[in-house]
């Protein structure tokens, strides 16, 4: 006759195995899934305690380890160097292709946003390399937009900028992922608005941005609608301005610009 306690334990184990839904273990405390959730909630040190430090850990766990090192406080050069090394290794040797591109992109972001001071040139070089290595991947395309951010606002003589901008436009014309296109138009609208002071070109990119299928948060969209409406009005296109004003007014009543825009619209309608 079998011993009752091992029997009960075996039954319990069997029951637990059968009753546990597939994937449930991923959400358990201490799981990588949990670690990513902690990271998303700014709890970097707790996430770091979960991601293993071993070099033979799964690719995604190593990526998590690198990110948690970047978030560790106090921020030290040693942690950043260690994270940079892990990301470089993953970018060249991970088996999961998504991890490869994400690691390469994050590796490019280290000189951009993770060091004490930004190394614009190195960041630009790395972003471009990521895009050239993965031009079809959404994150590769994101890297090219980031390349634009770190180059197109740098101080330089106008003729040098003109040439740089022209070549950037030529390269970025190949982007086709909806999110990358949204970001690209956003960037180009900003460059025309803030650097080239060209309202017509700014509006052109805003129009593409607002008509795109990629999501834009309502609070941001409201600002863009006002901007597009104002630009169209200044450029002498009241019909277009009215369209953007109407969309703005249809979206919100709780904004300090509502009354003014309603007035603008009424004036335009009265004069047409």
């Amino acid at each position: 006759m079998p011993h009752p306690i091992p029997c009960r334990l075996a039954a319990l184990l069997l029951f637990t195995t059968l009753a546990t839904p597939p994937g449930a273990s991923a959400r358990e405390p201490g799981s990588p899934d949990e670690a990513w959730r902690l990271m998303a909630g700014l709890r970097f040190s707790e996430a770091r305690a979960i991601f293993p430090a071993r070099a033979d850990a799964p690719d995604l766990d190593r990526l998590g380890r690198a990110l948690s090192l970047l978030g560790a406080q106090p921020k030290t050069e040693s942690n950043i160097n260690q994270a940079e090394q892990i990301l470089a290794d993953l970018a060249s040797g991970a088996t999961d292709p998504d991890v490869v591109v994400r690691a390469a992109l994050l590796h490019a972001r280290i000189p951009h946003v993770h060091r004490q001071s930004t190394d614009w040139t190195e960041a630009a070089r790395r972003y471009l390399a990521v895009y050239e290595a993965h031009p079809e991947h959404p994150l590769g395309q994101r890297a090219l937009v980031r390349h634009g951010i770190v180059t197109l606002f740098r101080p330089m003589p106008p003729e040098e900028f003109a040439s740089l901008f022209e070549s950037y436009l030529a390269v970025s014309a190949a982007l086709d992922h909806p999110d990358a296109l949204r970001d690209l138009n956003w960037l180009l609208a900003s460059v025309h608005e803030r650097r080239l002071f060209d309202p017509a070109a700014t509006l052109r990119h805003l129009e593409v941005l607002l008509a795109g299928s990629s999501p834009i948060r309502e609070i941001t969209r409201l600002g863009l609608l006002v901007q597009a409406g104002e630009l169209a009005r200044e450029l002498g296109d009241p019909a277009k301005a009215a369209r953007y004003y109407r969309e703005f007014l249809a979206t919100t009543i709780r904004d300090s610009r509502v009354y003014f825009i309603r007035q603008r619209l009424a004036e335009m309608e009265a004069s047409s």
Partner: protein, 528 residues
């Protein structure tokens, strides 16, 4: 025979013993309650010590207890000055109450670490709205502002349910007004306010009474001064705003100053300074060194005709003053004003006024479901009405009527976007504050202020921008980790709509912030 000293000593000891016994009883009662499984206690902490809020929370709590036997709601009123330290100790020590007003001392990182996100819950109907016009509506949508005051933009989640909303107005002592003018008619324009203030000064000289037109302090004066200044910069803000979004933030304002797009000598700025000087000279001498309580005291003693403050002080001022109080809009020049009208668009809009100070459920709460239930209760239409009636504060729930006394504080939607003030960060604020006395000095004025502040303000603007860049760079770096984590979670759980929403939101915040950061960095370098 017992002498006077002995009696006093006995009274002192008796008071001490009494206080000690009461404290002991309170502590003992809490310990007993905590051990009593039939009583569930929800503790709620906040810094709103003004009259009204605490009384109203108590009133709603008693209703909740009546309907939920075995539950007790305890309120912890923490002074604003010690709130950040107190809250840190409680959160870190694991002894935090169930519900805490999020704000002072609690940033996004602390919200994520110590509070529960309630995004899933705010998308569900509030059960206490059953039988009201809000029945079936998501809890979030029952708020007049869509509960935006409870949303943490950095985390892209709701972390609390707000109870408060506020606007600022001028309060007038109607008794004193009648003594000075023979009527209780309140000023309807800036010029009427200034003229009335002159009559108060004249009345004080004639009667020898120590009264001033406006009670000022380092807390109240900026409310009025900034309001006037922001009205004279309304049109200028539109002009300076290269984004054409009808607003200009402190960073681009600082950049504009460094690029010489504007200076303290710009006409609208000079107009704002002149108005600020005019109004500041109608406050009591030395007001820049006085605290909020000093101004309140001066007004309540009947020694000032006006005071500018928020709706949060309405109950304190109305109940704590022996005279009738009138409330009117903060003065600003109209577009028809002969001198300042050309700088002004019109009365500023309050359509963007948001609810604030949300109450979040701490992760250490022993009864998180009950804490959530109480927040639903107090923000339901019937009980937010009770809260509004008892507190005299502005309600945050659609359809809830403000009490008659608070009606003049209802946000005014018919208005224009605001202009700007000279505060572009801590350094510029310091320059302005350090030189404000020159603006109000009878021996100096606008020209002297301009001459003294002009060069330091430019240096300070550069300092503020450099600090902003450092802070933003850190935030962008941190956001890298959050965006990556959200996107990886979305890859692991493609059907998780909340993950998708957060991933998109985080990416957008980070991306637009990076563009702004790159632009500011490049522009600042090119100005060197």
């Amino acid at each position: 025979m017992i002498n006077r000293e002995k009696i006093l000593a006995i009274i002192g000891v008796a008071l001490l013993l009494g206080t000690f016994s009461v404290s002991l009883l309170k502590v003992a009662r809490r310990a007993v309650d905590q051990r009593d499984p039939s009583i569930r206690v929800i503790r709620i902490a906040h810094w709103q010590l003004e009259d009204g809020a605490s009384t109203a929370i108590d009133a709603v709590a008693r209703e909740y207890e009546r309907l939920h036997p075995g539950v007790r709601i305890e309120q912890l009123r923490i002074p604003e000055r010690v709130y950040p330290n107190w809250v840190t100790t409680q959160l870190v020590g694991g002894t935090a109450p169930d519900l805490i007003q999020i704000g002072k001392g609690i940033d996004s990182e602390r919200s994520a670490r110590y509070f529960r996100a309630i995004t899933d819950e705010v998308l569900l109907p509030n059960p206490y709205n059953r039988g009201t016009p809000l029945e079936g509506m998501p809890w979030r949508d029952t708020y007049v502002d869509g509960m935006i005051g409870g949303f943490d933009d950095a985390l892209q989640d709701y972390y609390g349910a707000p109870l408060f909303m506020a606007t600022v107005r001028m309060y007038a002592n109607l008794g004193l007004l009648r003594q000075v003018t023979g009527s209780t008619e309140l000023p309807r324009s800036l010029d009427e306010l200034l003229a009335l203030s002159d009559r108060v000064e004249e009345h004080a000289r004639r009667t020898g009474r120590a009264i001033v037109p406006i009670a000022g302090s380092k807390y109240n004066a900026p409310i009025l001064i900034e309001r006037l200044f922001r009205s004279t910069t309304q049109r200028f803000a539109l002009e300076l705003s290269t984004s054409r979004q009808m607003t200009i933030g402190p960073d681009l304002l600082a950049l504009g100053l460094l690029r010489e797009d504007w200076s303290l000598r710009s006409e609208p700025i000079q107009a704002g300074l002149t108005l600020a000087s005019d109004i500041g000279r109608r406050m009591q001498p030395g007001f820049l060194h006085l605290a909020r309580e000093d101004a309140t005291f001066l007004f309540q003693q009947g020694r000032a005709l006006f005071i500018a403050t928020g709706s949060w002080d309405a109950t304190t001022l109305i109940q704590g003053s022996s005279f009738r109080i009138g409330v009117f809009d903060l003065p600003a020049p109209s577009p028809q004003h002969p001198e300042y009208g050309r700088f002004v668009l019109g009365r500023h809009s309050e359509a963007s006024v948001r609810s604030y100070g949300p109450f979040g459920i701490t992760r250490t709460s022993a009864h998180p479901e009950l804490a959530l239930d109480f927040m639903r209760f107090i923000t339901s239409a019937p009980y937010n009405q009770l809260f509004a009636d008892k507190s005299g504060w502005l309600p945050v729930i659609t359809g809830v009527k403000p009490s008659p006394a608070i009606a003049p504080f209802a946000p005014v939607f018919e208005g224009y976007p605001d202009g700007f003030f000279l505060n572009m960060g801590p350094d510029t604020l310091r320059v302005v504050e350090n030189n404000l006395h020159i603006l109000f000095s009878p021996a100096a004025g606008v020209e002297q202020f301009t001459a003294a502040a002009e060069a330091p303000l430019r240096r300070a603007a550069r300092g503020d921008l450099a600090r902003t860049l450092r802070i933003r760079n850190n935030q962008i770096g941190r956001a890298d980790l959050v965006v990556s984590a959200e996107e990886i979670l979305l890859g692991l759980h493609p059907d998780d709509a909340a993950s998708a929403r957060r991933a998109h939101g985080q990416h957008e915040r980070q991306f637009t912030s990076e563009i702004h950061h790159a632009h500011l960095s490049g522009a600042l370098e090119s100005i060197r």
